[in-house]
């Protein structure tokens, strides 16, 4: 009787341990699949805490990074992966961690960091060919930093690799950005000219009207002998609207440049994503 009891216990324990030993990531993976990202993160951390095999550790790290990405915590994912990169891991596993980190850095808006990590990759993994996805990230990061000449070269390399049309390069029509300094100078010497330069004629007219009103009040007050009013109100209003107009012209040009760059980058992004699909 005792023997049977022991056998049953051994059988049950055996089943339990086999189930958990087969794939330590299975539970966390299923939580991730069901959208319970925080619980899945804990599951992956649990694996990282106990597992000794680099394969499983890297699998868990990638799993947690996926959860963080799903939650939109890209910067946290970059920092987490940074802590997971251990020199003792095999090169192939390190490469997958670094690749994921670059992707997260781009998604976090850390474009300089993404480029820096990308530039280190050929030295750290010289035997691994550059993947189209990483090249695409390079193009997109350079675009976001408005380094379009470099982005154009990278785009061409990507197009060659993806065997797509290399003739219809979007960088032939790089947006011409306007100068904030020029807008300031224009508005300083010709009221409203900076706003015209920024493509906002309505604001330009308004600026001219306000400055003219101040000036008119000042001149008429002076002619009528109200010297203090001419100075205190007329010149004061003119000076305030003039200084405000100069600053506004600068802001308008900055906004215009941002819109132009964003529209161009969105177009290139679309094409790049088509290439790496």
């Amino acid at each position: 009787m005792t023997t049977r009891f022991c056998l049953i216990c051994t059988f049950l324990c055996g089943i339990c341990s086999i189930a958990s030993a087969q794939n330590p990531l299975a539970q966390a993976d299923s939580l991730f699949a069901s959208g319970q990202f925080l619980v899945a993160r804990v599951g992956y951390e649990r694996v990282l805490y106990t597992a000794e095999s680099p394969d499983i550790q890297v699998g868990a790290a990638m799993g947690k990074a996926r959860c963080l990405k799903q939650q939109g915590l890209y910067a946290q994912a970059v920092a987490f992966l940074n802590g997971q990169i251990q020199p003792s891991y095999p090169d192939s596993l390190l490469y997958s961690l670094r690749r994921e980190q670059i992707l997260c850095a781009y998604l976090a808006g850390q474009f300089e960091n993404a480029l820096s990590l990308l530039e280190r990759l050929p030295y750290l993994h010289s035997d691994v060919p550059v993947s189209p996805l990483l090249m695409a990230i390079r193009v997109l990061s350079l675009n976001e930093l408005r380094r379009w000449p470099e982005a154009s070269v990278a785009y061409h390399e990507l197009a060659v690799m993806a065997q797509t049309d290399t003739l219809s390069v979007p960088y032939r029509q790089v947006p011409e950005l306007k100068s904030e300094k020029k807008a300031q100078w224009l508005s300083t010497f010709i009221p409203g000219a900076g706003q015209f330069y920024a493509g906002r004629p309505g604001e330009a007219v308004l600026s001219i009207v306000m400055q003219s009103a101040g000036l008119y009040f000042g001149v008429t007050s002076f002619l009528q002998g109200y010297y203090l009013s001419a100075w205190g109100v007329g010149a004061g209003l003119f000076g305030s609207f003039h200084a405000g107009g100069v600053r506004r012209a600068e802001v308008l040009v900055r906004q215009l440049n941002q819109r132009k760059a964003a529209a161009f980058n969105a177009n290139v992004r679309q094409q790049v994503l088509e290439m790496v699909k």
């Binding site: 009891f5 216990c9 925080l38 619980v39 951390e45």
Partner: protein, 290 residues
Amino acid sequence: MRILRYWLSVLVCFLLTPGFCQTGNFSHEWQFARYLSEKEANDEAAFVLHAFNKQSLTASQLDSLAYLTGWLAYSTKSLDEASSHLLSVSPTSSFYNKSRYFGAYCLAFQHQLDSAGAIMQELPATDSTLIELKAFEQAGVALLQRRYSRYDTLRQQFSYSSYALSAEETRLDAYRKGLAAQKRRSPALAGLFSAVLPGSGKVYAGKSKQGIAAFLPLLTLGLLTWEGYRKDGSTSLRFLGFGSLFTVFYIGNIWGSTLAVKVRRDEFNRGYDNKILFDMHIPLRNLLNR
């Protein structure tokens, strides 16, 4: 009957397993939460700590749980939660000293100075370093309360030779001197100054730029009012309009000058409070966060 007994023992065995696991698991799960906390995986650590069933834990396990929950809250700068958890750790726990010191500091940081002072009075101090640290923390709270005589009494215990405390002790003395040298300015006098010469009250309060910025528009409005009166008379729209504007700004400036004294005083005190709290924190981290 024998078969029934046999199956019953198997069932009992399975029912008891979770109980044993709960006790054995606590240490493992607590260590895991601590590992997460050290890795700054704070959300994950909080999740693991919240999963504990407090009903089934022993007093010592509850202490460990309270300590780690408090420490996690402290790490995430939720100081209210941190102090309540850290201060609930009982004296039998090995985390008692650290919990007590950090819990009291969290209260001081939240400007609950009376409570912080009362807890610091009873802080455990088992060796010469902790005795000096206790005096240092109490002296910090005394300075935050601006109780200079109490600070002077407590600073007698400063050795100025401990590697973890000497620099902070010297700085605390400097803050005490700086606070004592603070000039007491009167809001009424500031208002009076601004009534005589617009903007001068703000200069007196220590806000020189604001004083000049208040003086110039008032001077302009005053001159415009005078011009309106001189050229068009006291019933003219020009005189009444500029005169009204001048009056509003003039009274507003007097009121602003009285407030400027309080604002300047608050800025001064806040600046010193931040420095004191910062220096109270450094030795705690150096000596107890090990």
